[in-house]
Symmetry: C2
Subunit: 362 residues, 2 copies
């Protein structure tokens, strides 16, 4: 499986999934594991903010962030260079906010200058949504510079770091991220089913001052603040096994060390990109500098169908790679080299198989 | 662990949690497992309706049901005899519906007559919420009769069957349940992390005719209808390992046979109730007939603290039992005998330990 999340899962983490259950509602051992896990994720994200986990997929965290930070009528900056950026625009509309969109094509990213100009023009904007890595198109955006511009304009910044956390540096606090979003199945290489959210004091302040309530119980961050952060009671039964497994993933990550992990991602990504270009494939992103080190997206050469290509990779080589969605469907293939899958040996096998598949398809 | 969900998990199911991941977005093997699992749950629920699973805890299904069936200003009947019934009333208010509440005390249940009278008085009501078993207080309500009354008044019935599905008969279609809600960690005895929802054609019709949108992406049932049921694409990455594990739980359940399972729950519950009464404990529910066969809730004798009692059960006997919440906190203990935990031998150990603990506390 060389897909951009879910990734293969380390055997040690899989074994943790099979441990007998601890009661998450009343057993203090579970509370300790949960606290410890949140602290470890804080280290990876580079944040001292409140942090907790939803039972659910990454999307539940994106949905919750917008549900809580946006009120009807609010102007919200949507910085979008891809499928998930556009998704944020839709979420803002759903919650009856008014998105002010700064966009780029999917093979490019939005520049800090574009963001600055939009904010100069719309001084009432107080919240921005931003996607660090667009997994469907393989681009990574300049979080540091965009975080700075947003901070200069005194904005609250919601950042989808789902496919960068534990793969490339995020440094949430340094980069002025108020809400940082993640998921278990990307670079953490745990099974899917947990969504991560961190919330800054400024974001809590804004939530406190809302004039309207958040309709959903499940997505309401106030519930977490009042029940878990204050009273140490979970709002609902937590996904014990997945929490225990993700905790194990974080142990492996911190044992290896973040610098070593970022380096490993960078080396493998560089190898995948250059090897693919050598075999005549074109990267989907316009420039090398905006290619994410967690996923490589390649244009499909004319004359080869995406389905056929992926099918041959699977049946002949036992390797599962991904296509993409929306307007990218059928036009690109995606190689995920994140987390446990960011290994040179694995990447070499995939590159060889891809090369063979392309030759045989001619 | 003798708590009313999560329960202990069968070793075969735990092993399934540790299987290497299948890609849930693109691997057809996963689609087959998912379909097969949904069909098995349909058998247990007694429904031919659409059925699918949220990545999330049971609460996400309750939240979604109300989010989708209730529009601002709608009068909605809330049938409440406990914590979760009251929770539905809150959800209805959150979504700006107008709850018409028929209530009982927590140690009793609402009668079909009460429901009938409320509906006679409020003929504009089109939706009702109902909790089959109130896990915090141990009562079970007469679903068959209440379903009939609701159907006579042409209502859409939302039923929380979280702690009855696969423990006592639900017969959703026969009992006119339009939205049936469940969770993986109760009588299915799988780890927590999956919520179950079934949706009748009448309910889909009402959702289609909504004048206002559902704000949340994650809770929106239309997304599931358009993406999964129509286009066979999941709205987000599914919790592979938990789906595979729950599928294994369902295999065990259907292998044993539903009648045998219902009988096992009934025998163990009867044993627990009578043994506890013999040792001088009083059942919290007013009458035997309204005691659920999945959980027994007992009043704590005066002079013994709940925490101390539970603590001694844990340290001396290695058995974890539950307290309760809200206005029941500190007043009752709860013995969960659901799913894999509904075994005579286990129940005997718990009863003995409880008897010893009570004697030693005198």
């Amino acid at each position: 499986m060389f897909t951009p999340g879910p990734t293969d899962v380390h055997p040690v983490v899989l074994r943790a999934m099979a441990e007998p259950l601890i009661n998450p509602d009343i057993d203090v051992r579970f509370f300790k594991i949960y606290d410890s896990l949140c602290n470890k994720i804080r280290k990876v994200a580079g944040t001292k903010n409140s942090l907790f986990l939803f039972a659910g997929e990454g999307m539940v965290a994106l949905d919750s962030a917008v549900a809580n930070l946006v009120e009807p009528g609010d102007q919200v900056l949507s910085i979008s260079s891809g499928v998930f950026g556009d998704g944020f625009t839709d979420l803002i509309k759903n919650y009856r906010g008014k998105p002010v969109v700064v966009k780029s094509e999917y093979d490019d990213v939005v520049t800090p200058n574009q963001v600055d100009r939009a904010l100069e023009k719309n001084p009432r904007i107080r919240v921005a949504t931003f996607v660090h890595c667009e997994t469907p198109s393989g681009t990574i955006s300049p979080l540091r510079q965009i975080g700075k511009v947003c901070n200069d304009h005194d904005l609250l910044l919601i950042t989808d770091a789902v496919s960068t956390l534990a793969g490339v540096p995020v440094n949430a606090d340094k980069n002025h991220v108020d809400i940082c979003l993640g998921a278990s199945q990307k670079c953490f290489s745990s099974p899917p089913g947990l969504a991560i959210i961190s919330v800054s004091d400024r974001a809590w302040e804004r939530i406190k001052r809302r004039k309207t309530g958040v309709e959903s119980f499940y997505l309401d961050l106030k519930t977490w603040k009042n029940m878990w952060l204050k009273d140490r009671t979970f709002p609902y039964t937590q996904s014990t096994s997945e929490v225990v497994a993700l905790n194990k993933s974080l142990d492996l990550i911190l044992e290896e060390g973040l610098n070593s992990i970022y380096n490993r991602h960078s080396v493998v990504a560089e190898y995948v990109r250059s090897s693919c270009e050598k075999m005549g494939l074109n990267l989907f992103p316009k420039r090398q500098e905006i290619c994410s080190d967690t996923v490589t997206v390649l244009k499909i050469p004319s004359g080869i169908g995406e389905t056929k290509l992926r099918e041959r990779m699977r049946t002949k080589h036992g390797i599962i790679i991904a296509g993409s969605w929306g307007k990218l469907a059928g036009r690109v293939i995606r190689l995920g080299h994140m987390g446990y899958n960011a290994q040179k040996a694995k990447a070499e096998r995939v590159v060889e198989a891809l090369s063979e598949t392309l030759k045989s398809s001619k």
